[in-house]
Symmetry: C2
Subunit: 236 residues, 2 copies
DNA sequence: CCGCTTCTTTGCGTTCGCTCAACGAGCCGG
DNA sequence: CCGGCTCGTTGAGCGAACGCAAAGAAGCGG
């Protein structure tokens, strides 16, 4: 990651984020003034699993993949960070280190604060505390959703759900469908759904033959979201 | 659940909880004064999935199981609530309803606050906000751990992990082992690990034959935690 | 333009864990 | 004390998904 540069971050970029809702404009200005802007080139990391947590971040532009590696070397993708998301606030979880690795899927820009700012920032911005609580709460909700899926659904449904979520969170209209707007491999999707790239490849091939999606090297376009949704949720 | 009774809750019961660490004693006293104490008999619920979230709670005594039911009727156990745990703070997650059902595994006592207190309580107790953030953070960490396990480990390892966690969180020394201190069925364990009661039963039978655990109707005692840990983590 | 690397596809055999089924055992209420 | 309910055990068969293997694309760098 490129060294921090104290750049004035345009408040208008962030004032509408849920995280900063109902905050005093002056407080927000003060907060952003303490942040450093960093550029992260595709493939580079913002922080790595196990490293001491020295800063927390807000993604301003781009897309990150956060992965964890198990003791026996298997990789799991915990989440995709989208613009406007807070990430790497390990200290808020009372952890001394980062639990995962954040790697830029495309060239990205992040705002970073020294971790030591966290407590004072939260204590002097009670509104931010409540919003941060909601943000983590939503994260928890997502994790529970994935747990529920992993516990009860077969692989095809899980992959369908994952693809639909990606299309919703990171979709860009393109021709006849919704293209996932950053490079993503079958391996990535496998790591998000707890399966193997082989199974994902087979499923996507099958769907492509039926005209539900269009694949390609590191890319994926959803053509028939309705049909996918029916695979993800046969009942509703 | 028995109707709330405004009972003075002994501060000494809660002052040492991580959630209330570094809080002013007066603030804590004020906070607890607003709480109502409820008794919940075994098998009764504190709240049910989908019900409007009108209150948030702290478990003072006993043990709760929090489950979610999927649209197609499958049940998943999201967590066990232990004494000292905050639960049911759906509003903090910006949710209008409870995402799961909290049912008493044994006769329990909970402290409850009207949900409308949440924002004011957090805003006037910044220290509590930080602690609550950490509490949810740990919850998120646990969820991620389970996701990692579900993604990469076979059933036997997952069940071993779950049993060890239960023994640690809710174990009581008894004779030659550590007895899990509340009634738990094979079905429960299956719902915690994403498998079926049949598989759990087979595994526990196998372990019992090897002298690692002792089973029984709604009970489970860990005899050889070391051997179980080796099943859970063959490497380390 | 060529060679290498990374990503993807596809076939085949295997297996883990599920489903179905039946029975056994503990506990409670009448 | 007996009947019924819930919980637990165990067997047999099956199938979804994995592991292994090999060969094709697509992109990148020299």
């Amino acid at each position: 990651m490129v060294k921090a540069r104290k750049v004035a971050i345009d408040i208008s970029l962030v004032r509408n984020l849920p995280l900063f809702r109902d905050m005093q404009p002056e407080a927000l200005t003060r907060l952003m003034a303490r942040a450093g802007a960093h550029r992260v080139a595709q493939g580079e990391t913002v922080f790595e699993q196990g490293a001491q947590a020295t800063a927390f971040y807000l993604l301003l532009h781009g897309r990150l993949k956060v992965t964890q590696v198990t003791p026996d070397g298997q990789q799991v993708m915990m989440r995709v960070v989208h613009p406007g998301d807070l990430f790497g606030f390990a200290r808020a979880l009372a952890r001394p280190d980062y639990p995962g690795t954040a790697r830029a899927a495309v060239d990205s820009i992040v705002a970073g604060w020294p971790m030591s700012d966290w407590d004072t920032v939260v204590e002097s911005n009670p509104r931010l505390a409540i919003n941060a609580l909601q943000t983590i709460g939503q994260r928890l909700d997502e994790a529970h959703t994935r747990l529920r899926e992993m516990s009860t659904q077969e692989v095809e449904r899980r992959v369908a759900h994952a693809v639909l979520r990606l299309a919703e969170k990171a979709g860009r209209i393109e021709g006849g469908g919704t293209r996932i707007d950053f490079p993503i491999t079958r391996q990535d999707i496998a790591e998000m759904t707890g399966t193997t790239l082989h199974t994902v490849s087979r499923l996507l091939s099958g769907w492509e033959a039926r005209g539900l999606v269009e694949g390609g090297r590191q890319k994926l376009t959803v053509i028939d979201a309705g049909a996918l949704a029916r695979i993800a949720d046969p009942a509703g």
